[in-house]
């Protein structure tokens, strides 16, 4: 029985069919003529090379310096605009020296409604309350005033779409 088992397995193994030589050669030629597979590493290299090329092109025309100065300007401009300390003004000359309010979070009093009398009447005036500087929201982009979450959401959406497409592509390959 042992010999019979060995014979059957050997017969099955040695009795396997082989393709015709012409057919096999034609298929080999077709596979070889299609060229080697593109490696994912090659794609990464191509992406890096293109990025490097863009950086070099920008650097050679001064683009990096221009971008850097623009960025620093964009960062400084809001500070110049909104952190303004008015030391001399008509109001400062006419009214009593500015004394900061006791409560820093006091409700805003519009400057157009002074509690004292008209100028030159000699009456005592209430402490000057400077106009509130417009609040700079840290979640806004400079110049455009676009909310920061908009480009962030856009970027996340693009990354999510890419991941979904990649996953679907892999599933399709797996179900070949």
């Amino acid at each position: 029985m042992k010999d019979r088992k060995f014979d059957l397995e050997t017969e099955l193994r040695t009795g396997r069919s082989a393709p015709r030589a012409e057919f096999a050669q034609a298929l080999v030629d077709e596979v070889r003529s299609s060229g080697p597979a593109r490696s994912p590493l090659g794609r990464l290299g191509l992406a890096l090379a293109l990025s490097g090329l863009i950086v070099v092109a920008l650097a050679s025309f001064g683009g990096i310096g221009y971008a850097s100065s623009s960025a620093s300007h964009a960062a400084k401009k809001p500070a110049k605009q909104h952190v303004r300390v008015v030391k001399t003004s008509a109001a400062h000359a006419q009214y009593a020296p500015f004394t900061p309010p006791a409560k820093p979070k006091a409700p805003f009093t519009p400057p157009s409604q002074p509690t004292g009398g008209a100028a030159g009447t000699g009456s005592t005036s209430a402490p000057f309350t400077p106009p509130a500087a417009p609040q700079v929201k840290s979640a806004e982009l400079p110049f455009t005033g676009l909310a920061l979450w908009v480009p962030l959401a856009f970027g996340l959406a693009i990354v999510s779409i890419g991941l979904v497409l990649r996953t679907r592509g892999r599933r399709r390959d797996a179900t070949l």
């Binding site: 059957l8 017969e11 009795g15 396997r16 069919s17 393709p19 015709r20 298929l27 070889r32 592509g169």
Partner: protein, 186 residues
């Protein structure tokens, strides 16, 4: 990260073609059908060559996964349209010579096995896969595959033995129950 360094799965196509063809021939019979399936497998492999991931298996396992799908489609088409079934590819087809009477008796015996058993035999003895590789393709455990293959071979052996008895009884009507020697080598 390993997939970044994946090598070309079709860098050495000759042995892969032989193994895929042998698998297809075990399932469909030696001849044009097996050649069609082999061509289709490599056509698909070329199309999806870039998506091959070595971490998921060897190139032969990847190709045989494709071959299983193509073979199932070919068998379904054959079942739907029996008129297109090629008549006995071993006979009269140039280049497909049969070496022995024994091999001729194996094909009908294999055809009597269940689909699952035929596939196991084709993967093991046609594509020359190990039990672990078969388990990977069939999404099963290695032990399960080994046991299933053992049972399939036992069934094949019993079919061959019963056929041998029939042939002997036909040759010598006076001894209907004679079982001399190995029935496989009848």
């Amino acid at each position: 990260m390993r997939s970044l360094f994946a090598s070309d799965p079709l860098a050495n196509p000759e042995p892969l073609i032989r193994r895929v063809y042998a698998f297809a021939a075990y399932r469909l019979g030696d001849g044009p059908d097996a050649e069609d399936v082999t061509s289709e497998v490599f056509e698909r492999a070329l199309r999806y060559r870039d998506s091959y991931d070595r971490s998921k298996g060897e190139p032969v396992a990847w190709l045989l996964g494709i071959a299983r799908s193509c073979t199932s489609a070919a068998l379904a088409a054959r079942a739907n349209n029996p008129a297109t079934v090629h008549d006995s590819p071993e006979i009269g087809t140039p280049g497909f010579e049969d070496d022995s009477v024994r091999r001729l008796s194996l094909a009908p015996a294999l055809a009597q096995l269940a689909e699952r058993d035929q596939e196991l035999v084709a993967l093991r003895f046609g594509a020359d896969l190990t039990a672990a590789q078969m388990a990977q393709i069939l999404v099963s455990k290695t032990n399960t595959v080994e046991v299933a293959l053992h049972r399939a071979l036992a069934r094949l052996r019993s079919i061959l033995e019963s056929e041998g008895e029939h042939e002997q009884s036909a040759a010598d009507p006076r001894k209907p129950s004679a079982r001399a020697g190995s029935p496989e080598h009848a």
